[in-house]
């Protein structure tokens, strides 16, 4: 049945009001066409491009521009963004608050990024805190976390959590991927801390909708750390036990909340981890390796199939 005939039928059966019928038909026939998502995207892309352009210009021309001009303009830009947000922002609520306008979220993000650039530039040039420069990151994390909660901004919360990760020593600019023992432990500590903050605020019913962001950050950091431990220590290690426990917990959480993104994470990470250990035991026996992949992939298919059926029945 196509949309117009379904809507018409429902209207005739009096299960759909005339107002709803006309509105939905207008949307369906594209007489009403929203470009909201496109405008949001172009605004966000614009902000990212401005940040990229500023970063590149400062890197290339910092000697010609001078410290005062750079720090002054970055400070002014960031202050202007924050003042705009303080002036225009809606009042705080523990629940989800809609942005006052399409650009608001990204202006706040822009302000936070300019602030980060300002601090990073000042520290790189003047070494004010010397070896303690890392504390800037912690202070930035606190500020961003506050702003994210005050203005209900998911993008700034992501920025806050990645700033915290940077404080723990993780960056995405490393040209060579290496995961030493201390990286593992820091990553585990980071994910536990992130998860604890997320759970704590969730339990307090403060911006419950933010919990997914915490969980995503925590999940990836934890699994990458544990996987690297499994690669290094294989079967007989605490890493493998923790890895299995983490997979089981994530699967249970996914089943309980019916958020299947976490099931995807648990199964993919779990399969990789178990395969690393399994293939290490099998070693170079081609017969066993190929049989392993056939049997395990079939087992996973059967498992997911039964789960998908179960959820369909429950629904």
């Amino acid at each position: 049945m196509n949309i117009p005939s379904l809507l018409q039928k429902m209207h005739e059966e009096k299960t759909l009001s005339a107002k709803q019928l006309n509105y939905l038909l207008d949307i369906h026939k594209k007489k009403l066409f929203s470009v909201h998502q496109e405008l949001r995207f172009s605004f966000y892309a614009g902000i990212l491009l401005v940040i990229a352009g500023l970063g590149l210009t400062i890197k290339q021309y910092f000697a010609q521009l001078g410290d005062i001009a750079i720090i002054g303009s970055l400070t002014a830009g960031s202050l202007a963004s924050f003042i705009y947000c303080f002036a225009k922002g809606n009042s705080y609520s523990h629940k989800e608050v809609a942005s006052p306008n399409i650009a608001f979220d990204y202006i706040l993000f822009f302000g936070c990024t300019l602030y980060s650039m300002d601090i990073a530039y000042s520290e790189t040039q003047f070494h004010v805190l010397g070896n303690l420069w890392n504390n800037y990151l912690l202070a930035s994390f606190v500020l961003f976390l506050f702003l994210a909660y005050r203005y209900d901004n998911r993008v700034v919360l992501s920025l806050a959590l990645s700033t915290l990760a940077a404080w723990f020593g993780f960056t995405v600019t490393e040209s060579r991927f290496s995961f030493q023992e201390y990286h593992r432990l820091y990553a585990i500590a980071y994910s536990c801390l992130t998860l604890l903050i997320g759970i704590f605020l969730y339990r307090l019913a403060v911006k419950k909708h933010f919990f997914d962001i915490y969980l995503n950050f925590a999940t990836h950091f934890l699994f990458v750390a544990l996987l690297s431990g499994v690669i290094h220590y294989k079967l007989f290690s605490l890493y493998f036990l923790c890895f299995l426990a983490a997979c089981v917990i994530l699967v249970l959480y996914s089943l309980r909340t019916k958020r299947f993104l976490y099931m995807l994470y648990a199964i993919i990470y779990g399969y990789i981890g178990i395969s690393i250990v399994g293939l290490d035991i099998i070693r170079r026996n081609t017969f066993l390796v190929l049989t392993y992949f056939i049997v395990t992939s079939l087992a996973v298919i059967v498992l997911i199939f039964s789960l998908s059926r179960k959820f369909k029945e429950n629904a």
């Binding site: 379904l6 939905l24 949307i27 605004f43 990212l48 990229a52 040039q125 992501s158 299947f260």
Partner: protein
């Protein structure tokens, strides 16, 4: 003649259900109304969520590849013909298994049947490749035959199963052919454009107003992809931009990108005309994908403008482009909001239909990568030179202890 394993009614019902869910998510209908809509549009197929679909797809691919590898290893063929025959045998098996799952288990975008059909197509192409290698067919000819075979098999899968990505695979396979004909660069591009325009023309012919909504959506996506492919073929400086992104700033631009000057300037003109034309077409026919692709093409046109004119890129170019995007967004938003009922000719900046949320989105990921970018863009502080400024000269009397 109908090739598809699903009826039009089934596909239309699935499409309607999808729209109904979006309306519910956006608060336009009640839960009760959604239930009524779902009762009226039972497609009679088995579906699953996107995450399970992805898992099914990945693990079926792993399983299919492992089975083929296992049989090849067990058989231990000493010739290409044996390997090729095995692959073709599996190709046929996987194909009929996919058909069986749809006919008997009523799978619809379940992941398993998709992986089986892709595995079938891949093993057929590899099997035929091995056969051609065995028969010592000229490499260039072999690649052309393989591309044709891939295009035909992918197109058949699209017709039979309706997987949109398989028609895109088919188009990509066809697009490789002009580069195997030892033509000059101009000939290659013109032949490629001929193929793309031909496919676009065919899709426009079949794109009639009376076709079902689900088909309209599919056609729009195909046309948007073709528009993007035509644009990429026409823009002769697009790869220079890619090189710039990978920091290959030292590249010396070839004059006229290695093409005759008249073609170069025609292509320059077309890089402006295609986005404008696409935007006009998209706005007139209200096709979101066409509008988005045209806007993206316009963005690339502005980014490659300096390359076309032989000018050097500046560090602040992205910032100017960003400011332009922001200004345009604000202007369009304001213009739309000031219209009657916050609309202009049906276009509105209001958030009517909310997209599905899975907990984290691209904007969040972009923000998470920002600290890394900021760190990478920090200039190296000039180190104090010890022997400058007379600090060490004269016993270094001016330097503090």
């Amino acid at each position: 003649m109908k090739f598809c394993l699903y009826t039009s009614e089934q596909e239309e019902n699935i499409f309607t259900r999808k729209k109904a869910k979006t309306w519910r998510r956006s608060g336009l209908i009640t839960e009760q109304q959604l239930r009524i809509m779902e009762e009226c549009t039972n497609p009679g197929v088995s579906q699953t969520n996107v995450f399970f679909r992805l898992l099914f797809f990945v693990f079926t691919c792993v399983c299919a590849s492992a089975i083929i590898a296992f049989v090849l290893w067990l058989a231990n063929f000493n010739n290409r013909v044996g390997e090729a025959t095995t692959l073709i045998f599996f190709s046929i098996t996987f194909y009929f298994l996919a058909e069986y799952l749809i006919r008997n288990r009523f799978f619809y975008r379940y992941g398993i049947e998709e992986a089986l059909s892709i595995a079938s197509m891949t093993s057929l192409v590899i099997g035929c490749g091995l056969l051609m290698d065995n028969w010592r067919i000229d490499n260039q000819l072999a690649v052309i035959i393989i591309c044709l075979l891939l295009a035909i098999s992918a197109f058949w899968i699209y017709l039979r199963f309706g997987f949109l990505y398989s028609i895109l695979i088919s188009i990509i396979a066809l697009c490789i052919i002009p580069f195997q004909l030892s033509l000059p660069a101009t000939g290659e591009r013109l032949f490629l454009l001929f193929i793309l325009f031909l496919i676009l023309l065919i899709s426009l012919i079949f794109d009639k107003p009376e076709i079902a909504d689900f088909q309209k959506e599919k056609t729009t996506i195909i046309q948007a992809c073709l528009l993007a492919a035509i644009y990429v073929t026409i823009n002769l400086r697009i790869f220079d931009l890619a090189k710039l992104y990978f920091r290959d700033i030292g590249i010396n631009q070839q004059p006229y990108a290695g093409f005759p000057p008249y073609l170069y300037w025609i292509s320059y003109l077309l890089t402006f005309l295609i986005p404008i034309g696409g935007l006009y077409w998209g706005i007139k026919s209200r096709r979101r994908m066409i509008i988005n692709v045209s806007l993206l093409a316009a963005f690339v046109t502005l980014s490659t403008n300096k390359d076309y004119l032989g000018l050097k890129h500046s560090a602040w170019d992205p910032a100017i482009m960003g400011l332009l995007l922001i200004a345009l967004s604000i202007l369009i938003k304001r213009w739309l909001t000031q219209g009657p009922n916050k609309t202009r000719d049906g276009f509105t900046a209001e958030n009517i239909l909310k997209p599905e949320s899975h907990g984290i989105n691209l904007a969040d990921i972009g923000a998470a990568l920002t600290p890394g970018f900021i760190e990478s863009q920090q200039p190296v502080a000039p180190t104090e030179k010890f022997f400058e400024g007379g600090k060490s000269g004269g016993g270094g009397s001016s330097r503090d202890f």
